[in-house]
Amino acid sequence: MPVRGAGLHRAKCQTMEFVNQFSFRHAVDLLRVLVSRDLKIRYKRSFLGMAWSLLNPLLQLLVFRSVFRFLLPLNIASYTLFLFSGILVWTWFQSSWMGATNCIVENAGLIRQPGFPAAVLPLVTITSNLFHFVLALPVLLAASLLSGHRAGALWMLPLIMAVQFAFTSGVSYLTASLHVRFRDTQHLLGIVLLLGFYLVPIFYSVASVPPRLQPYYRLNPMVHILEAYRAVLLTGGMPAWKPLVSVAALSAVLLCAAVGIFVRSSHAFVEEL
């Protein structure tokens, strides 16, 4: 029977051996090529190609705007832009998290290659969805400026995106390793995200939430991330510091823990796939 203490020592030895083999340059190349492969596959044989990055959110925008203008009017200034920003941010979050959850199971063949860093796979999904987000951003920005909004402090945008990236990665690493063991994780996540859509101020404003429920509502990190985007893109001001920094700190901690759990469980992946 292997001794527990000895087990940890062995695990450390193995990790050390891989640190020697790990090459940052290779990891970057790998990320680059897998993201470009992902994008190429998605668009190679489609009629509209890259235009889909924009069309999808625009179509969603159209539907929601019509509903909330004619059917259930909400009193929100520049509702179209308000809605568009929400949809773009949420789409990046949702498609990344859903896609990344399945990335290990989907790429079983790659995991079996010697020296392949499985940890890069969730990042590939998040990055390729980021691509669509970035493609649509200028449209949002242009529309915002044309409507007479001041879009100041644009340098904050990459920072907010980094925070969202970190948060998405954190939760993705957790569900990706969970999905290998329990194959309905992605399915359950789908339901969670469906509900989550209504728990983030995409098509309504935070102010509409009853004061009693506000503290609980504000526990959702995506609320603050979205508010930060809106502050920069629509009001032209700086986002609220405290919530953003808290979310950033939370994401950092979550990410470290999630990567640790992922790496530890990744040794058993091949057995489960």
Binding site: H26, D29, L30, V33, K40, K44, L110, Q113, P114, G115
Partner: protein, 433 residues
């Protein structure tokens, strides 16, 4: 010399497949989380290895011996449960070729993706690109989408990429070469090239001949443990001998299980009585209805002198058509010790489809055996030797008279098989030795 691979008391265990183990949250909720202690089995146990850089090691063993598990651990996939393993240098593999391929991308794009997945950096892939395409002989098709490739072209491309990953340790799982004969030779030459350059190669193979020729060392695994680790030719010989002996044991068990419980005893013209499960075994889909030992004049005999001729004449009956049965005649001595052994497949005398009655005979010319009592065992077997149709055991005695000086040899100058089918009236003859 520097060690490329070191393993000390390496062990890896696996969970036994448990159909009740929940694999979705839904099942956990429905069935409850039963902590019913998982059952494990050891895929590898107490493996000690010290392989020097530049050696080519062949890993052989029956299915389930742990060969692929060892290869995976060498590749860093999965962690050992016991002991330690250390591999020095970059590891690459000819494992799951074409894993990164996607049919919508062009060959060029796929090479880039697969090359980087295999361990090269982008710069290295671009540098080796022409060499890869030339090796795969796909210069014309490289910019076409992969879905237009034939499976042979795909395999060639996958192999070409994999073989260009410069590593210190190369792991090969069965697939040593792909494509047509000419391309296979190219693959082998490339591997020999790598050998010459000092790459350590670990090859898992079921082909004992390949291991014997290509590898310096061979590692024989059995149920997760090392049976033998040493110079390739000797380990391979031991392995092959053991496999043959096992196959024989399996055949005997199979024959016994197929022997019917009761049958009326068979009486031959020589006076032998054959009863099932006593001295007669086999499924009896085809029967040997008469066996005679004849001397050189064709008269029945039970005693010969050294140098004499012995004819074993077998009359068979196959009510249903039997494809390519194999006849075997064995002369056994005390305690069933095999003294002389011949069969129609070993002597390359393949029989066609056998139907109805016929005679098959084997003639031992110049038979020499030490003086004593022997038995002639005859049998007809299924074409793969998996079991016997009819086997007569210790039923036909043969005495070898002593003459002159004691004869130590056991041999026959010539062995000739002859087949005469009553069905088609055809005759066939084969002379051996």
């Amino acid at each position: 010399m520097a060690l490329a691979i070191e393993a000390r008391q390496l062990g890896k265990r696996f969970r036994r497949y448990d159909p009740h183990r929940p694999w979705t949250f839904q099942e956990v909720v429905a069935r409850g989380w039963r902590r019913g202690g998982p059952e494990y089995f050891w895929g590898l146990r107490e493996i000690d290895l010290a392989i020097e850089a530049g050696t080519t090691v062949g890993v052989i063993g029956a299915n389930g011996a742990g060969k692929s598990t060892l290869l995976r651990l060498l590749g860093g996939i999965g962690q050992p449960d016991e002991g330690s393993i250390k591999v020095h240098g970059r590891v690459s593999g000819l494992l799951s070729l074409g894993a990164g391929f996607h049919s919508d991308l062009t060959g060029r794009e796929n090479v880039l993706v697969t090359g980087i997945i295999g361990g090269l950096t982008r710069a290295e892939v671009e540098r080796e690109f022409d060499s890869i395409v030339d090796f795969a002989e796909l210069r014309d098709a490289i910019d076409a989408p992969l879905r237009t490739y034939s499976s042979g072209m795909e395999m060639r491309l996958a192999f070409a990429v994999a073989i260009h990953v410069q590593s210190s340790v190369l792991l090969i799982d069965e697939v040593l070469a792909v494509g047509d004969l000419a391309f296979q030779r190219k693959c082998l030459n490339r591997i020999l090239d790598l050998k010459a350059r000092g790459v350590t190669i670990v090859l898992v193979s079921h082909d004992a001949a390949t291991v014997a020729t290509l590898c310096e060392e061979a590692l024989w695994l059995e149920s997760g443990r090392i049976v033998e680790h040493g110079p390739a030719p000797s380990v391979v010989n031991h392995y092959v001998a053991m496999m043959r002996a096992r196959a024989q044991q399996r055949n005997e068990a199979e024959t016994l299980s197929r022997t019917p419980g009761d049958r009326p005893p068979l009486r031959t013209s020589s006076g032998a009585t054959l009863e099932v499960r006593r001295n007669r075994f086999g499924s009896l889909e085809m029967e040997l209805i008469d066996v005679q030992l004849l001397d050189s004049y064709g008269s029945p005999t039970a005693e010969i002198v050294p140098g004499d001729c012995l004819n074993v004449e077998i009359l068979y009956d196959a009510p249903g058509a039997i494809p390519r049965p194999v006849f075997g005649v064995t002369i056994t001595g005390n305690g069933g010790r095999v003294c002389l052994d011949t069969s129609t497949d070993r002597e390359d005398f393949t029989l066609p489809l056998i139907r109805n009655r016929g005679t098959i005979s084997v003639r031992f010319e110049g038979l020499r055996l030490p003086a004593g009592l022997y038995h002639v065992d005859v049998g007809v077997y299924q074409q793969d030797w998996s079991y016997a149709y009819d086997y007569h055991y210790n039923s036909y005695p043969l005495r070898m008279r002593a003459e002159g000086a004691g004869c130590g040899a056991m041999e026959a100058a010539r062995i000739i098989w002859r087949h005469e089918s009553q069905d088609s009236g055809s005759r066939r003859l084969a002379r051996v030795r």
